[in-house]
């Protein structure tokens, strides 16, 4: 049950002379929600970008399901089962809501290129399967009635939800959420918290979470890692973090 999904060892990322992430270690197990917090510019999103292969690390090793994924191309890592959302929402703006979700099923299609052109064989069956799966996911996120709308016509909160639906369509084992409740009101935030917990329970996903909303993080996460200027300053269960002096210093500054 507590199978290890992601293992990060001694990760270093440099942009020119700046060390964005410095010797970061992190491990995420199945059915575990790990929070990654820290002040702005701490290197949280960079860590996510390295995990998904968008940024190449200077040194360090990443393992997913005991396989090395350091420096592998983004689509290869995605196909292994790591899905993510983006801090600055990155949807396919001009595609419809349901198409956005269906795109993520591309690596799971069973029909070949010629079958797509002629339209026989596995094409029809597969398209129906992808579409009904996309509908289920939209249903899950409460977006079912918006299926035919253009993605960029959705309000901000719904766009965040659509990103998660798209990520889930990849059928991931590990889900990385980059500031998922940014821009949500308190009611939406607490609803979303319940949703994340339900997701973990139903799909036994491992979830990595970057978030600035502390009450949300404390409520949802099993363990929290705090980083500042790329360096780990604290690691532990929520109530330990809440009372950690280093963390308070990093957020509020020294008195």
């Amino acid at each position: 049950m507590n199978e290890n999904l992601l293992q990060i060892q001694g990760l270093v990322v440099q942009f020119g002379g700046i060390c964005a992430v410095n010797h970061l270690n992190l491990s995420i197990n199945r059915s575990e929600i790990i929070g990654l917090i820290g002040p702005n510019g701490a290197g949280k999103t960079t860590a996510f970008n390295v995990i998904t292969g968008i940024v190449k690390p200077a040194s360090g090793n990443l393992f997913f399901l005991e396989q090395e994924i350091t420096g592998k191309p983004t689509p290869v890592i995605a196909r292994k089962g790591i899905a993510r959302t983006f801090q600055n929402i990155r949807l396919y703006d001009d595609l419809t809501v349901i198409e956005n979700v269906m795109v993520a099923a591309h690596c799971a299609i069973s029909y070949s290129f010629p079958e797509a052109i002629i339209g026989f064989g596995r094409f029809g069956k597969d398209e129906r399967r992808i579409k009904s799966r996309a509908r289920d996911l939209l249903e899950l996120m409460g977006l079912a009635h918006l299926g035919g709308e253009k993605a960029n016509s959705l309000p901000y909160g719904s766009q965040r939800k659509l990103e998660i639906a798209r990520a889930l369509a990849l059928e991931p084992k590990l889900l990385l959420l980059d500031e998922p409740v940014a821009g949500m009101n308190p009611t939406e935030t607490s609803e979303f918290g319940e949703f994340v917990l339900k997701l973990r329970k139903d799909m036994s996903l491992g979830i990595g979470l970057i978030e600035h909303d502390m009450s949300f993080v404390m409520h949802v996460c099993d363990r929290i890692k705090v980083i500042d200027h790329g360096v780990e300053i604290a690691w532990g269960v929520p109530h330990e973090i809440r009372n950690n002096e280093k963390v308070i210093k990093a957020y509020l500054g020294e008195g």
Binding site: R90, L91, Y92, D93, M102, A105
Partner: protein, 354 residues
């Protein structure tokens, strides 16, 4: 509001095809050579516009190479339809190299070969070309177009150099050009509506997000590029056997430029737009000739100015782009549903007016 109905849509599409075939049959039998020539041109430009739009509009990779692909297709098909005797007669600077000099194929086989050779060329080209994006991609592909022209001028034993290849049999007729045109549109529409098409659009909208969803952007771009190259190559073969004389100077950048105008006016990313625009611009270019002819307007004698149609054409283009910035169709596609809804609205307002 009418409802979505795939069976009705299919029937209507079939019916439209029957009408098109009937019209083509009529055109083939009763229209003059000039009109038939325009119809052939329209078909070839539809093939080119639709396939060029696949890479530029659907996949969003701004590239400028269709003149190169057209040239490769035209030369391949022309070289293979000439008989060995004709080759000896036309290659006067240097004889053609063996085994090309002895090879000869039927017209359809040469078209297929033209498509395959062009597609292979695109496949090889994709490896260096798709390392760059945006403006840089445009420049790299533009360079490729220039290279092909220089190569065609200089490998005389294959292309006959600047003299070009003359005296091709005019195999291209209404049936060949429109048959292949319909086939191309069918293939491209099917592709765009499949998961591959969605992946192409995802790459256009946000390449990083597409990659994060497991889409290999390089592979998808290469697929779109190769696929469109195949049809551009076939179109090249059709063009060669329509005008019966090809030379390197025929395949200048202006050809690419015309196609770019067509797909932008039609709406980048809309196959329907590419078709409508290809028809309007190819046919319109001929129809506008009327302004170059002498005429008498209200008793006032107008001499007719050569080149006037290009002035008018440019003015029309400016107005189209001012009032329809996304092109005629934007990114929308034709759907029977919309047409029926439009008709219903039309009849309703008509009834109200009474």
């Amino acid at each position: 509001m009418p409802e979505e109905n795939p069976i009705r849509d299919r029937l209507l599409t079939g019916l439209a095809l029957v009408f098109l075939v009937a019209f083509l049959w009529y055109a083939d039998n009763y229209f003059g050579a000039y009109t038939q020539r325009i119809l052939n041109n329209i078909a070839i430009f539809i093939i080119l516009a639709v396939s060029y739009n696949l890479i530029n509009g659907i996949t969003g990779q701004f590239s400028l190479e269709p003149n190169a692909f057209l040239a490769v297709g035209a030369y391949t098909s022309a070289i293979f339809t000439l008989s060995p005797e004709e080759k000896i007669r036309s290659f006067i600077i240097e004889p053609m190299i063996w085994p090309l000099s002895d090879m000869s194929l039927s017209f359809p086989a040469s078209l297929l070969l033209a498509g395959l050779v062009t597609a292979l060329m695109a496949l090889l080209m994709a490896i260096p070309v798709f390392r760059v994006r945006g403006d840089y991609l445009a420049i790299v592909t533009l360079g490729f177009g220039e290279v092909i022209q220089v190569v065609a001028n200089n490998i005389i034993p294959v292309t006959n150099g600047p003299l070009g290849i003359k005296g091709l049999t005019p195999h291209t007729n209404i049936w060949w050009s429109w048959g292949i045109c319909i086939f191309t549109v069918f293939c491209v529409v099917r592709l765009v509506n499949s998961s591959y098409g969605r992946a192409m659009k995802a790459v256009r909208e946000d390449e990083t997000a597409a990659q994060a969803m497991g889409i290999n952007a390089f592979r998808i771009k290469t697929l779109a590029f190769t696929f469109s190259a195949f049809f551009e190559g076939v179109a090249g073969g059709l063009l060669a056997h329509l005008i019966t004389t090809i030379s390197p100077s025929l395949f200048t950048f202006m050809l690419t430029f015309n196609l770019l105008i067509i797909i932008v006016v039609g709406g980048l990313g809309s196959t329907t737009g590419a078709i409508i625009s290809a028809i309007l611009i190819t046919w319109g270019g001929e129809a506008l000739r009327i302004v170059e002819e002498p005429a008498s307007i209200f008793g006032f004698q107008y001499e007719g100015v050569p080149g006037m149609r290009m002035v008018l054409f440019s003015v029309i283009l400016i107005f189209v782009m001012l009032f329809a910035r996304q092109g005629l169709m934007g990114r929308n596609e034709f759907r029977w549903l919309k047409l029926i809804a439009w008709f219903e609205r039309l009849t309703k307002t008509g009834a109200k007016a009474k």
